[in-house]
Symmetry: C2
């Protein structure tokens, strides 16, 4: 029987927490490397790295073409600092993992990025010093850091799934393009020779490539029905052609496209999740191998309760003794004092389960002043507040408030009513605090209580500041007023919580939040790269002139090419690539499809392709990936969770059964008094919240 030393516990604890948080780093098991690895996984360096990535990416705001210009040396200094931080992190990483693994790790794209950025900075510095034209091309690489940093696992997984799904999608796209080409040829032959004219008098459907482009845009319905009006005016028979085209290419092909994207993305994501589960099991087996001992000759290998306790304390130092005891009783259901491999492996999943203990604690006022709190009027008040009518009354108040907000606030009666509503909302919160125990009222899972209190208190503060400013100088700050307005409107959202059906939908939406966040990062990476490329290609091609500018160039956004176009007519001048803010807004607009024709006229035919690549990628990304994420959340993950929960079902049943026995034992045994205080109520209920989705 080997003795288990401190280092072994550390090692096992790392394996377990790696399994718990789905980390996949193959680290060196020497004592130094292990303590370095513990430091590597500490939240502070991780947050720091993310912070510096953010700083690095937001440098685009200050660099040429800048929103807020800073001297070049300043931005370069900050960038150097960022690169230094990344390098330190990478060196740390290199110390943690075995030398031979380091060079094979795909995350080392980071190293290439850093080196390339350094080279680019040197070249740029030299060129600008000699007043030559210089290009900061390495800015495109910045978002790659976000993907390839150690913590970007989920993002990499999403990218990998998309990449793997691409070939299948490509075939549908090819067939779709073939269909567009055939239809264009038919349009050329049918309509090209009829001498029709478009609105602006140019010949209609005579150039094959332009037909292809027009029909391609028609698929997105952006130029419908303009593109078919000349043909329709000639004869309604021709509309049949367009209707058939839209039916086949917009509906049939897009549906096929969607279905293929959907199925493939799902397939590969499923595969990724499967690998994840396998890796997790593997790590738990290794942790077991470290702590295992043989109780009798030829018997099975087990982990004793003492070792297990020490391990859990290392993995999760803030776990309460009661919680830990509960976990143990789930694992060791036969109460043997040791567990085998099978029971040990589920520990990572058990630790991921949030245990909420609902306790009916007495109200603090009751302890302070029991006679008053338990008097008849006080109890009547409690009953009133807990009554359904109270909620309904406040829903009516909220609706009345909505009407008052909609009315003109210049009217003194209306603006004074705001104080009444504020008072009513404050009264509600105070009443609730009087009735309900404050700690459970402000518990971690009472989203709406927090929401309410924060909104109402901020609204109160902002309103007071606003009226103070007004009464002092007769001056109203526009910014504070805006905040007051927003807070007032936000208060109304609370009404949603009163209707059960709405609550269900909102809760579903909140639960898919983490999945959306991953997707948001993905979008950020793509937007950033496109914004950088777009800025270099198109900056200053379209200029925005102020409202009161008298420059004649204002009518055509400073670009003679735009004279008389709808782009200029509709005053789209601010939709340009002149700085990173405008670029992002423009990319969002392009994602939302419409009016791309206006942009395309500005530059070159190649720009059309660029914009349409952006458009197609984004539209498919947003729509499909969203749909997929949603379904993954409801389907894949749910089934994998369901499986997990099913596995745990038995354990949970035992858990409930052992709670009584456990509590009894606790009263008898000499346990930590704080733990006892946390569980001194026989009504303690143990609930399972959903394991956090963010883990997968």
């Amino acid at each position: 029987q080997t003795e288990i030393i401190r280092h072994d516990f550390d090692l096992a604890a790392i394996y377990v927490s790696d399994a718990q948080y789905n980390r996949n780093i193959y680290f060196d098991t020497s004592p130094q490397a292990v303590s370095l690895y513990l430091l590597y996984n500490h939240w502070l360096p991780r947050v720091l790295v993310y912070f510096f990535i953010l700083v690095d990416m937001s440098l685009a705001v200050f660099e040429e073409p800048a929103v807020l210009p800073l001297p070049t040396w300043a931005t370069m200094l900050v960038e150097l600092l960022c690169l230094l931080v990344f390098t330190v992190r990478l060196v740390h990483y290199a110390k943690v993992i075995p030398r031979d693994k380091f060079w094979k790790d795909p995350k080392n794209i980071c190293i290439i990025c850093i080196v390339l950025t350094l080279i680019d900075m040197i070249i740029y510095g030299a060129l600008t010093a000699t007043n030559c034209y210089a290009l900061r091309w390495s800015r495109v690489l910045r978002p790659l850091l976000l993907v390839n940093v150690t913590e970007g696992r989920q993002l990499r997984r999403a990218f990998r799934s998309i990449r793997n799904a691409l070939p299948e999608i490509f075939y549908v796209f090819l067939l779709f393009m073939f269909s567009v080409l055939i239809f264009s040829l038919m349009a050329l032959k049918l309509l090209g020779k009829r001498g029709l004219k478009t609105m602006d008098g140019s010949p209609y459907f005579t150039n094959y490539l332009e037909i292809v482009f027009d029909l391609y845009v028609l698929v997105t319905t952006a130029n419908s029905p303009d593109v078919m009006m000349p043909a329709y005016n000639a004869s309604f028979i021709f509309t049949l052609f367009f209707i058939l085209y839209i039916f086949i290419n917009t509906y049939i092909f897009m549906s096929a496209f969607l279905a293929v994207v959907f199925n493939n993305y799902k397939k590969y994501l499923k595969e990724e999740v499967r690998q994840l589960v396998r890796a997790k099991r593997h790590k738990m087996v290794r942790a077991f191998a470290v702590l295992q001992e043989r109780r009798e000759e030829g018997g099975e290998l087990v982990v004793t309760q003492a070792n297990w306790n020490q391990l859990v304390r290392l993995v999760q130092p803030d776990i309460s003794n009661a919680h830990r005891e509960l976990l143990w009783s789930v694992c060791d259901d036969k109460n043997q004092g040791f567990i085998g491999k099978l029971a040990f492996v589920q520990l990572a999943d058990l630790l991921n389960i949030e245990v909420i203990t609902l306790k009916s604690r007495p109200h603090p006022l009751q302890s302070i002043c029991p006679t008053l709190y338990l008097s008849a009027p006080s109890r009547l008040l409690c009953r009133l507040v807990q009554h359904r009518g109270f909620t309904i009354m406040y829903d009516v108040i909220i609706l009345a408030n909505a009407v008052f907000i909609g009315l003109d606030e210049e009217n003194p009666m209306i603006s004074n009513s705001e104080w009444v509503f504020l008072f009513l909302y404050l009264l509600e919160i105070l009443l609730k605090l009087y009735v309900f125990e404050p700690r459970s009222f402000f518990s971690k899972h009472s989203f709406w209580n927090w929401f309410d209190t924060i909104i109402v208190v901020s609204a109160l503060i902002a309103t007071i500041i606003n009226s103070a400013l007004k009464s002092v100088g007769g001056y109203t700050s526009r910014q504070i007023l805006d905040i007051v307005f927003i807070l007032r409107v936000l208060r109304l959202i609370r009404v949603v919580d009163s209707i059960g059906r709405f609550r269900t939908i909102i809760n579903t939406l909140i639960r898919i939040g983490p999945a959306i966040l991953t997707f948001g990062q993905l979008i950020l990476v793509v937007y950033y790269i496109f914004a950088m490329v777009g800025m270099e290609l198109f900056k200053e091609k379209v200029k925005f002139y102020d409202e009161d500018s008298n420059d004649p160039a204002k009518a055509y956004c400073g670009n003679p090419l735009l004279k008389g176009t709808t782009f200029a007519q509709l005053n789209y001048c601010k939709n340009n690539f002149n700085n990173v803010m405008s670029s992002f807004i423009l990319l969002v607009e392009l994602t939302v499809v419409n009016q791309c024709n206006g942009f395309a006229t500005v530059t070159h035919v190649s720009a059309r392709i660029f914009f349409h690549v952006v458009m197609v990628i984004f539209v498919s990304f947003v729509l499909e990936a969203f749909y997929v994420e949603y379904s993954v959340d409801k389907g894949d993950l749910q089934t994998s969770l369901e499986r997990k929960i099913e596995e745990l079902e038995l354990a949970v049943a035992q858990w409930y059964r052992t709670v009584d026995a456990f509590l009894q034992r606790m009263f008898e045994a000499d346990l930590d008094p704080e733990d006892l205080a946390e569980n001194d109520d026989a009504e303690a209920q143990t609930n399972f919240a959903n394991p956090s989705f963010s883990s997968v």
Copy 2:
């Protein structure tokens, strides 16, 4: 033991074919009713009813406001005839089913429709005779006949599924509307007081209802980015508001909406399919009950082979003896000469399976002139044609043809090349006919062979007519030329068949055809109703003037309200409700989302609502229902089919095993010589095609 008489066989045959085609009519079992029922299910009356429904609906083309005007008495006479046909059909139906069932049948909405139409016609006739204003309101009811006619089962099922899914969808929609209202209120407060102006100088975001409408349209992205440009020009901070709005309402809510529609529609459709399967089983059990006999005292009830044979011959008179014998050997796998209830029930599914027998029949030329056909050069030719290079060569020719089509056909070289290509295509077909057996070349499942031959032969005929006309009078008919062009382009599609991946996608698309057809009917019903209502409300509000008209009203489509609007500027005058053709085209355009603002300015605010109801219903219908149909086709139906196929798997295995034994028996027994000829080849392979999807 009861004797089975002729009537019993008829009855059982009806039950079986009802189960086979999923008919759900509860008919009277008396001999007269049964023979009437057989007549009722005959294809001729069914086709006739559909024909007259079509005639009835297409009357809208000839009625005021007409595309092709006909006198009122003529259209009314035709409509009377249609009503007569429907009445006869209903009377027939009343004779078939028991009196007490007749009045409870929901299909009797037809009766109400007919009566209402008659009343409307009388009122209309009277009013027009006295020159009063009259409205043909009953035209809205016409498409209801299409839904409620006995054969509209699938359509009713689709409608029912949508109706059942509505309540759940409604809650998401409510929440969505709540979100739009809240955002509008915020926009009013934030932007209303800043004195911003829209492009045409009107105040921006000052009227709450207009904001709601604008933001509602923004969800469809139809007015993006126009609606946010004034705010964006003021400060880019405001774009955050719009981006957040689009993110929440377009992406999050639309995804939730889609997911809910999808899940609910699927759930109810699944339920419908489940009921269908139950009803089918029930009918087969009744058929069994009619034919059952007890072979020995206390033994199980069975159907003998003789009775079974007679039944199958009644159900499917054109079935070959060989096919019937195969079916029997699947059912009676133990070769007992009788089958029990379980084996009998699967008959309906077995009859739905298409059996394709691939036979390597010798080429007719081989029998006529064997020495020539089997000579060395002839065999070399066969090998050449069957070689992969032959296909590749023709793919290259098709691509070359595509290039030639794209070039200017005024060039005599190009127009003469058409003859060369026609000759090459004809040669290909002739060569293939020389090599492959003509009957298998033109078999039912060789879609591309049929496609090729028809296209090439029609192109040949059209080209010959065209050049004949040209050489005779130097005159080219535009219509014939159009047909020639279309045929030429269609020929190019053939290239798709050469690429395996494309073939798979196309085959999938073809297979979902029947589901799309059901959906097409559904759309037709909704379009028709909206077209009728739209025509009554909006006819002649927008007028179209010919190209060479000099009427000053042409600039504003004959409606002073449209002066200076983009609707008139973009020359959308032909998008109106002036006749049924324009209405349909306009509705299709509205389905395809864009440019609805233009239309809305024409009439009244109420029209906005109308158009948006149309839009939302259609967009959701088309997108979701399509997606659903597609997924149903790939998911639900596939699983239900897979289950079916799984059930049959065992049977099929036996089938294959019994084929040999069966063929052997056949050679020995004295069977129909034609059947023998059909199966005289030991290489006969039995393939299962997919059971037709239209059955569910």
